[in-house]
């Protein structure tokens, strides 16, 4: 299997501050990859570089086989993105949002219609299709946002804290959707604060102060830190002054 994401020495500085410090990793196609770290550890900066919202200071990365700097347009065509802030248009209806994003990704009218129907059925949103997105409960909004991000069948999807503020049942449903996409071969790159969610990932990495402090399957990571749970690993790594120099993944 080829790498869906390849990152080599990716670095981003803002003035004197190094937000992301030479990170390197590979993610295989179809993998569900959990990208963990405390607030301010550099996760969002790293994602922004991978999806072309931010230019790297040095290093390089390719997503879906395209270089994120030189071939940003191709990258954008092949990825989906769902940010921590809910980012569908609240003042448009469900149908209008789907049509808009379908149109943006160059789907034909027939494709838009078919996928919209399928999506609506899957999410059981039949009654809400012409309701404004603002009127939907948060959980539905998030599921809808995910489905819309998948509308153009991207090969890689980036999810930035997709389940923030969502109830446990919806979170479970959400993760079922993620697995569904991964089974179809989509690579899923997800950041989260919920460490129980991290356990669902094929592999995880934990970022501390702009560097990747740990990487591997959840089991490997726990073993390496001789910890009972990821919670414990996290606390060990993030507690100030307790970060030993760790080799990457």
């Amino acid at each position: 299997m080829s790498s869906a994401i390849e990152v080599r020495g990716l670095t981003r500085r803002f003035g004197d501050f190094t937000a992301v410090d030479s990170i390197t990793f590979d993610i295989q196609a179809g993998e569900v990859f959990g990208f963990l770290g405390a607030n301010g550890a550099g996760k969002t900066t790293a994602i922004k570089m991978l999806i072309g919202l931010l230019a790297p200071t040095s290093g390089n990365a390719s997503v879906a086989g395209f270089d994120v700097v030189r071939n940003a347009d191709e990258v954008r065509r092949h990825i989906g993105y769902m940010s921590q802030r809910f980012s569908l248009y609240e003042d448009l209806t469900v149908r209008e949002n789907i049509t808009l994003y379908g149109g943006i990704y160059g789907l034909t009218d027939a494709e838009i219609r078919d996928r919209a129907t399928a999506l609506i059925r899957e999410l059981q949103l039949d009654d809400a299709i012409d309701a404004r997105v603002a009127s939907l409960p948060l959980g539905w909004k998030q599921k809808l946002a995910f489905s819309v991000a998948m509308l153009h069948r991207p090969t890689v999807v980036f999810l930035d804290e997709p389940t923030g503020g969502v109830d446990p049942i919806t979170r479970r449903q959400f993760w079922e959707m993620i697995y569904g996409e991964a089974e179809r071969g989509t690579t899923v790159f997800v950041t989260t604060h919920y460490l129980d969610e991290a356990e669902y990932c094929d592999r995880i990495s934990i970022m501390v102060d702009g560097r990747i402090a740990a990487m591997g399957t959840p089991g490997e990571v726990k073993q390496k830190f001789s910890a009972e749970s990821l919670d414990e690993v996290f606390v060990q790594l993030v507690r100030p002054g307790s970060t030993p120099t760790l080799q990457h993944g």
């Binding site: 999806i51 940010s83 802030r85 569908l88 808009l100 994003y101 149109g103 943006i104 990704y105 980036f158």
Partner: protein, 384 residues
């Protein structure tokens, strides 16, 4: 192109779904025009006079009645005391005090020359200046008529003294005055074309800035930036709807101007809309630029507000550009509002044609291209 169509549909849906915005777009202009056209005026109204007549002669009364007859001055209070007049002025009950000293008529008879004192409340310097020139003209004319012996007071002077006024048969220059384009000196006819400019600018610049910043605040801008949309497509999708709306507002404004304010439209309306098209490129470009340098709608509003305030004051909308010092006149050359205001006024009021306003059009085109160019570059940089 297909993508642009989807984005345009989204923009129009969003604009027409927001009742605040729809109100702002179609009701506000009419109200604004009605209020602004009436409020934004330096039309000088009649000054209230306080009369201190110490002379009590037919000639001194003639001075007062001449001033009042002009309609520029209204006799409001009178007393023999200048001090009371001062107090009335401090209390803002009168705008001017006329003091006719004792012996005024006597001087006129004796030396053919008498002086009156006109004390203005000059807080509003411009208005006081205009009133001053009116008063000079009225008094000069009165003197001429007295000298020509055509007035009944003449006989009063003649009979009151031993030194009759020599009435020479000297020639006079008869000056007739004509004000073209606005013979009734209606200030609103002059202001309305300018206010229309303010209107389309508010829509163009403020809404563009607010609209993009709103997406920034909501996070949807990032979402769009990770899609394969070309930046140029995105910008076109943002600008075309607001451009359309600004043009529609201009049309509404012109109808109101015609029907309510009877603003003459002597020139070609086609030319007006053509110029507006070019002007709006710059206005929208500035809005786009503002959206790249601010983070919140509040800031967008403040920056736009501050920028427009300075641009408007320097545009010649309120005070003529040619009355400004050189540096300000130079700055007006690169002020799109100045060019568009001048163009609107000359096309609507004077019937100027394409060739008459070619200079303004060229300047608008250059400013528009520069503004949009800088804004697009800045936009690319800020969202890279």
């Amino acid at each position: 192109m297909r993508v642009l169509r989807f984005l345009l549909r989204k923009e129009f849906l969003q604009i027409f779904r927001d009742r605040t915005i729809v109100g702002m777009l179609f009701v506000m202009p009419v109200i604004q025009l009605l209020i602004l056209a009436n409020a934004v005026t330096f039309q000088v109204t009649s000054a209230r006079m306080y009369v201190v007549d110490e002379d009590h002669s037919p000639v001194s009364r003639g001075v007062v009645s001449r001033l009042a007859a002009s309609g520029r001055f209204v006799r409001s209070e009178a007393s023999p005391s200048t001090a009371r007049g001062d107090s009335a002025m401090l209390d803002r009950r009168v705008d001017m005090i006329v003091v006719i000293p004792e012996g005024f008529a006597r001087d006129i008879v004796a030396v053919h020359r008498g002086s009156v004192q006109l004390i203005f409340n000059a807080e509003d310097g411009a208005a006081a200046g205009v009133m001053q020139s009116y008063a000079s003209a009225i008094l000069a004319r009165y003197g001429t008529e007295l000298g020509a012996g055509t007035l009944p007071v003449q006989s009063a002077i003649m009979s009151s003294g031993t030194n009759p006024v020599p009435t020479r048969g000297a020639a006079v220059i008869e000056v007739r005055r004509r004000g073209w384009y606005n013979p009734n000196l209606d200030y609103r006819a002059y202001m309305v074309p300018g206010i229309l400019v303010v209107l389309v600018t508010m829509i163009g610049t403020l809404l563009t800035a607010m609209n993009i910043v709103r997406e920034k605040e909501a996070g949807t801008l990032d979402q769009l930036n990770v899609t394969p949309i070309k930046r140029s497509t995105f910008i076109a999708a943002k600008l075309i709807p607001l451009w359309t709306i600004a043009m529609a507002d201009l049309a509404i404004g012109l109808v109101v101007a015609r029907l309510v304010f009877h603003v003459p439209m002597r020139g070609s309306l086609l030319l007006v809309f053509f110029a507006a098209t070019i002007y709006l490129i710059g206005a929208l470009g500035i809005g786009l630029w503002i959206s790249t340098v601010v983070e919140t709608q509040q800031q967008a509003m403040f920056v736009t507000f501050a920028l427009l305030m300075v641009y408007l004051l320097m545009s010649g909308l309120f005070t003529p550009v040619r009355g400004m010092p050189m540096w300000a006149q130079w700055s007006a050359e690169i002020n799109p509002i100045a060019h568009f205001v001048a163009l609107m006024r000359s096309v609507l009021l004077k019937g100027s044609g394409l060739r008459d306003v070619a200079g303004h059009l060229a300047a608008l085109g250059a400013i528009g291209a520069a503004a949009l160019g800088i804004a697009v570059r800045q936009y690319h940089k800020s969202s890279a």
